[in-house]
């Protein structure tokens, strides 16, 4: 029992040099494997175990120097391009609110409010970033439940106000759902069924607040997350069968949903946009948006619109819902294109890095965040181009709304965290297959020789 301790002592010295705790386990495991290989090679060369271990340890080199070199390689590094893009979007958003403050009723007040919200939003981003996405995989049920409670509470406290604040906790559901699916690894059809049932919760909540965009966003995101999980063989069932079950149940649920919704006036109003684009209030809003965009120029303020002059009739909600339309008319398409390019760069960068994620949890969480933010952007653009089948929620980090800002910053914080520590996090090895000779738990080194194995 003396000799393996020598390996453990060596690894402990290396560990002490590596300051970033999260980087330690995978690195030490690799070194430990190497020492074992080397030791076994020496033994099969005819050396006794003690000499073999001594040689193997000596062969690797001074543990302090090795540890220091590894420390230099393993530093928590944020993804600077994404972090910088986030900062640019945030500053751009605030600048736009500042620029249009005099055009909008209570504009100065709104701008001050938004700046005040930016502080907690930055704190939330940092918290999500440092808490790390692994927390989503660790406590999926608690997070799910907490989100449910928050959504219900915001619904009840604001139920008489149009535009419920319950939208924002709902936007976090796809990300929480990623953790939920992650916890159902190898759980078979039962795990798949529970996951499908779990989607019903945010869908019902979205129905409760009469928000079609959130309903679509949450439903579609969760569907894609489940599809990816099935494709990765996450539930350990026949992929084809699982996909069949998933899409069949989604189809039936959508049909029931559609028929239920058809009895609701607000839903029929929305649908009118397809059948008769000019009818009703929504039709009027669409017409206004289209005619103002039609009179916009590439650079500079647009030409007067007959009937309105240059006063945008939707000014009262321009900073929240129709910022893009208003900005395009006021400053030209160049601004629209600029914002789009910025979001495109953000999106492309996120997708590229998320594809490098090795852990399934990292992949699912980054996918969930990317989907949520992308769909927010997409629906906002569509609505701002005058097609109002789905209403706008928010243009992430740009449009007015403190809660939206905090929510999106939280999502981006988790996204950034997957890029920071994602490559170090390992999906749990299935129970009973732990093969590690040495484990680190509560600061103790546990040596398990598995001699009877």
């Amino acid at each position: 029992m003396q000799q393996p301790n020598k390996i453990a002592a060596y690894l402990e010295t290396v560990r002490q040099q590596i300051r970033w705790k999260k980087a330690q386990p995978p690195v030490l495991e690799e070194l430990e494997n190497h020492l074992t290989d080397q030791k076994n090679a020496y033994i099969s060369d005819g050396l006794d175990e003690e000499t073999a271990i001594n040689n193997a340890v000596a062969e690797m080199g001074d543990p302090v120097i090795v540890g220091e070199q590894l420390d230099r390689t393993h530093r928590p590094r944020p993804d600077w391009p994404l972090l910088i893009m986030t900062a640019i979007l945030l500053i751009l958003g605030l600048s736009i609110q500042f620029l249009i403050r005099s055009d909008i009723h209570n504009g100065t007040e709104s701008f001050t409010k938004q700046v005040t919200w930016a502080a907690p939003a930055i704190i939330v981003l940092l918290m999500a970033y440092l808490l790390d996405f692994t927390i989503i995989g660790k406590y999926p049920k608690t997070i799910y439940l907490a989100l449910m409670v928050i959504t219900m509470a915001s619904y009840w406290s604001y139920r008489y106000v149009i535009g419920s604040t319950a939208i924002y906790p709902l936007l976090l559901f796809p990300t929480a759902f990623a953790g939920f699916v992650y916890s159902k690894r190898n759980k078979g059809y039962g795990g798949l069924t529970i996951s499908v049932v779990a989607v019903i919760v945010p869908v019902l909540l979205a129905l409760l607040i009469h928000n079609m965009t959130v309903l679509l966003l949450v439903g579609l995101s969760c569907l894609i997350i489940l599809t990816v999980a099935i494709a990765k063989g996450w539930f350990n069932v026949s992929k084809l069968m699982a996909l069949l079950i998933l899409y069949l149940s989604t189809g039936i649920a959508s049909l029931i949903l559609f028929l239920t919704l058809m009895s609701q006036a607000y839903f029929r109003d929305r649908l009118q946009v397809i059948l008769n684009p000019l009818q009703g209030h929504t039709g009027w809003v669409g017409t206004v948006i289209r005619s103002f965009l039609y009179h916009s120029r590439l650079v500079g303020e647009g030409l007067p619109v007959s009937g309105y002059g240059s006063v945008f009739p939707l000014l009262s909600t321009a900073n929240t819902n129709f910022l893009l339309t208003y900005m395009t008319y006021k400053f030209g398409w160049i601004l629209f294109i600029g914002i789009m390019l910025l979001f495109a760069a953000f999106f492309v960068r996120s997708v590229i890095i998320s594809q490098k994620q090795k852990s399934v949890l990292g992949q699912l969480v980054s996918l969930a965040v990317i989907l949520t933010v992308a769909m927010e952007i997409f629906t906002y653009i569509i609505a701002n181009l005058g097609f109002l089948l789905v209403g706008p929620i928010s243009l992430p980090l740009i449009s007015y709304g403190g809660r939206a800002l905090v929510t999106n910053m939280c999502l981006i914080g988790f996204l950034l965290s997957t890029f920071r520590t994602g490559n170090l996090f390992k999906d749990n090895v299935p129970v009973g297959k732990s093969n590690r000779l040495i484990k680190y738990e509560n600061g103790k080194i546990i040596i398990d020789l598995k001699l009877n194995g």
Binding site: P26, V27, E29, E30, L31, N33, H34, T36, D37, Q38, E59, M60, G61, D62, P63, I65, V66, Q69, L70, R72, T73, H74, K358, K426, V429, K433, N435, R436, G453
Partner: protein, 114 residues
């Protein structure tokens, strides 16, 4: 045969990339292969190899994955990326130019093409 260490620094990266160019390998295997292929001239220390491997992975020249071996141990395999291949090619060309130049100055047989 002892060899001046300074000749080796910088080229270690090239050698590692060359090794994994053919097949994915884990760290221990690389040291063995390098030893064998160089007729025991290159004895790469594990303590040098792993920091280098991790740096190369961060620079996207290598990627890694884990594989459970026959005796139920988890091994970390390294695989070369497109970027790694490109870098290797550049380095190899550089090296050949350099050795050819040294050889022609020395005036002897050109070992590089032997």
């Amino acid at each position: 045969m002892p060899i001046d260490k300074s000749l080796l620094t910088g080229s270690t990266t090239m050698l590692i990339l060359k090794l994994v160019e053919e097949t994915d390998m884990y760290g221990y295997q690389m040291i063995e292969e390098l030893n064998r292929k160089s007729n025991n001239v290159f004895e790469l220390k594990a303590g040098t190899l792993y920091p280098l491997l991790h740096t190369l992975e961060q620079k996207d020249m290598l990627t890694s994955y884990e594989k459970v071996t026959d005796n139920a141990r988890i091994r970390k395999y390294y695989s070369i990326t497109k970027k790694g291949r490109k870098y290797l090619q550049e380095k190899a060309t550089e090296w050949q130019t350099y050795t050819a130049a040294v050889n022609s100055v020395l005036g002897g047989v050109n070992f590089a093409t032997a």
